[in-house]
């Protein structure tokens, strides 16, 4: 039972689809952010696995930058969410459909 690259890619696929299901069915914006974190993490697993099985450090570097981007996304997103919550007293996605085409 040797664990190969395909095992990690399949795991990454499963986690990515879980995250996408979360993005599609969540209406609360905070829980939508949680689902995006799952997406970023599943991609990080794929990066680290490819980096390991091909002996290349580039995958790990990209995983670091993904983590940095996730951290800044959380900071800005939560700030915007708090402002929205102060104004409208809810964080439902349906309440911000004024720009809907």
């Amino acid at each position: 039972m040797e664990i190969g690259l395909n095992h990690y890619l399949v795991l990454s696929t499963i986690l990515f689809s879980i995250g996408l299901v979360g993005v599609m069915r969540r209406k609360n914006l905070l829980l939508l952010f949680f689902a995006t974190e799952i997406l970023l993490n599943s991609v990080n697993i794929a990066f680290a696995a490819i980096s390991h099985y091909y002996g290349d450090l580039t995958g790990q570097m990209f995983a670091f930058f993904v983590i940095a981007i996730a951290a800044s996304e959380v900071a800005v997103g939560l700030g915007l969410l708090i402002v929205w919550h102060k104004r409208h007293n809810n964080i439902d996605l349906d309440s911000m459909s004024t720009m809907k085409g």
Binding site: M1, E2, I3, H7, L9, V10, L11, S12, T13, L15, F16, S17, I18, G19, L20, V21, G22, M24, R25, R26, K27, N28, L30, L31, F33, F34, E37, I38, N41, N44, A48, A49, I50, S51, H52, Y54, G55, D56, L57, T58, Q60, M61, A63, F64, I67, A68, A70, A71, S72, V74, A75, V76, L78, G79, L81, I82, V83, H85, K86, D92
Partner: protein, 191 residues
């Protein structure tokens, strides 16, 4: 053998935790399950020999990001049940799996040709942290600095957005509304 056991154990745990995160109707359960899932993910990085990445995963995700979310949840009514979109579940799941397979195909497409040469190969006789440092501070120095500036911008944006007039009031009500509210409270205290 131990690698296989560890892989399947942590794969099961991670999938379970993230499944709870996207399906539960309690925001607090979702937060806790997500934090646990992040820690389990770092186990994969340790199995894959990316020690530094695993440590960063625990510090940044379970430490910083989860603390930020917990801090943000203090502002929101997290005890309220979360309403969900009523979509067709079959379509949602089907689209998700298709999109995920597409992403993995994009990852795997260059490998099919099987002529990959490592751009920055693993350096022999150096620990993972040392290797990461060597590559990060030579080839990826400029992206590293740009990421640092981006984090600074995000920090300032967070302070400006969330901390606006927080020393005066924690709402964006104007002064008349606050005065009315205080009057109501005084009435309640007196009566």
């Amino acid at each position: 053998m131990f690698e296989a056991i560890a892989f399947y154990l942590f794969a099961f745990l991670t999938t379970l935790m993230f499944f709870i995160t996207v399906t539960t109707s309690q925001a607090l359960y979702a937060l806790t399950a997500l934090a646990a899932g992040m820690i389990f993910i770092s186990a994969f990085f340790f199995i894959l020999g990316a020690d530094f990445l695993g440590a960063v995963q625990i510090v940044v995700y379970s430490g910083a990001v989860m603390a930020l979310y917990a801090f943000g949840m203090m502002f929101f009514d997290s005890t309220r049940e979360v309403k969900e979109k009523q979509g067709n579940k079959l379509i949602v799941s089907g689209l998700s799996i298709l999109a995920a397979i597409l992403v993995v195909l994009i990852f795997a497409a260059p490998m099919v040709t099987d002529n990959i040469v490592a751009l920055y190969p693993v350096i022999e006789g150096a620990g993972n942290t040392q290797q990461v440092g060597m590559v990060l501070f030579t080839k990826y120095l400029v992206p590293f600095e740009v990421a640092a500036v981006m984090l600074l911008v995000a920090m300032i944006a967070g302070i400006v957005l969330a901390g606006k007039k927080m020393d005066l009031s924690i709402t964006l009500m104007n002064d008349a509304e606050i005065k009315d509210m205080k009057k109501d409270q005084n009435k309640k205290v007196l009566s």
